[in-house]
């Protein structure tokens, strides 16, 4: 017999099982690949003629270029994550500082960048950063993609700061009390007792943030970076804007992201599960 639960309880269960963050499963991959095949075959059947090449041939021909664009997305994501994590770690430590003015300032910075739309920050950086950079006698040209890196690393910084703060504050107060009563200084408490425990708890949300960041690198196409989405658009134009190619090309890009991000999402869930059991 099926047990029928009252609705609020069902909702509560659902929400406790899966937070509203991205939860990829292998089923999504199969669904995606299936859809891509379906579109491609349908498009192929509808559109092939002696003067137009088949959809498969088009995908194959442009794969090196699209992968090249995708590599730029990965580069942007890795660099933004590295810069954002380094800055965010400092900001996060400032958020838990006993020094009030420092904590207040850090809170303001965090709130500002956490609540700003990523795309707006990107546009802002593209326009605010100079085209040329003079350092001594050197003259660098700042490419658009490097501005995108800086633009995206700002919200990453704010989110990492919150992850650090949350991780540190999730450690029971007794750990602070015990180490304090043993004579550890605050600096020692933080680095020897609290952070080694907190980092394990920070890792899953940090990886989750990276997955979100990677998908968000496609925003760079809007500000003119030659990322995979921009290139996909150019491929479509080069093929004479055939409408039958739209779904297969963008589907192909989706699959690229899926293949890259799914293992990260999987590993994140494994880690979460592991630490849940231990704690």
């Amino acid at each position: 017999m099926r047990v029928i639960l009252p609705l609020p309880e069902v909702l509560q269960r659902e929400s406790s099982r899966a937070l509203p963050v991205m939860r990829l499963s292998w089923r999504h991959g199969i669904l995606l690949a299936g859809l891509l095949c379906l579109f491609t075959i349908a498009a192929d059947a509808a559109g092939t003629s002696p003067i137009r090449s088949s959809v498969f041939a088009v995908l194959a021909r442009w794969t090196p270029l699209l992968l090249h664009g995708f590599a730029l997305n990965i580069l942007i994501s890795v660099l933004s994550m590295a810069i954002g994590t380094a800055l965010g770690a400092f900001l996060g430590l400032a958020l838990i500082s006993p020094d009030r003015p420092l904590r207040g300032t850090a809170w303001g910075v965090t709130q500002f960048f956490r609540n700003a739309p990523w795309l707006v920050l990107l546009f802002f950086m593209i326009f605010i950063l100079p085209y040329h950079l003079h350092i001594g006698s050197f003259d660098f040209v700042l490419p658009d993609w490097s501005k995108a890196v800086i633009g995206l690393s700002l919200p990453v910084m704010a989110n990492v700061a919150e992850i650090v703060r949350g991780g540190v504050q999730s450690i029971p107060n007794g750990q602070w009390e015990a180490s304090e009563s043993l004579g550890f200084t605050r600096h020692q408490q933080l680095w020897m007792i609290i952070l080694p425990q907190a980092i394990r708890r920070m890792l899953p949300p940090w990886m989750n943030l990276y997955a979100i960041l990677t998908t968000s690198t496609t925003l760079a196409s809007i500000v003119g970076v030659n990322d995979v989405v921009t290139l996909a658009g150019q491929v479509l134009s080069a093929e004479g804007s055939r409408p039958d190619l739209l779904a297969p090309i963008y589907g192909y890009v989706l699959v690229m992201f899926y293949i890259y991000i799914y293992p990260i999402a999987w590993a994140t869930r494994r880690l979460e599960h592991k630490y849940q059991v231990r704690n």
Partner: protein, 244 residues
Amino acid sequence: MVEALLVIDNLHKRFGNVEVIKGVSLTVGKGEVACIIGPSGSGKSTLIRCVNALVPFEQGSVTVLGIEVNDPKLDKLKLRKHVGMVFQQYNLFPHRTALQNVMMAPIQVLKRNKAEVEAEAYALLKKVRLEGKEHSYPGELSGGQQQRVAIARSLAMKPDLMLFDEVTAALDPETVGEVLITIRQLAEEGMTCVLVTHEMGFAREVANEVYFTDRGVIVEHAPPASFFTNPTDPRTKAFLSQVL
């Protein structure tokens, strides 16, 4: 009368508008064991947290070996070298083994030689009867075993005064005994101890003086023999009749 090691004089502590300790005074001599008992919420834990400056207090004086705790220029490290504390929830460092838990503070705080500290740590764990568990992580030990590691960890700092905050309250009944044996052994060796406890039988056996607190004041104090047989205050009588 033995030399006084801990002197608390007219201590007041408030959390916001609630005064949880309303003028407590007590003296513990060197080598003596003081037990503080009383209903929950009577300020017992706060009282001993004031002694090692984990909790600041507004009024009154606490001196440990002549060091005034209620002093804005207090050298907390100096105070904490003299005062060890064991908590209800053990609070071992879960990412370190039992041995490392014991060794950390002497090495990092006292900057002592590692080989020396290690030899002492092995001896301390043997003393609390945890030989063979040196390399276990806290998560692999029972509550009673963890609490004994916590005692060894405090002893590694060679304190003059040990504070025990309801150290058996979170334990399974069958492991309470093994922790009490360790504390009794310490008391017999002449360690000055202040215990907040609900173990009346134990208080009766080891204490030199038993203090009964209620609503932030010490209602009554006496050596255990007379405290448990002839309590004078009606509140003490009521409490004892409930717990004994």
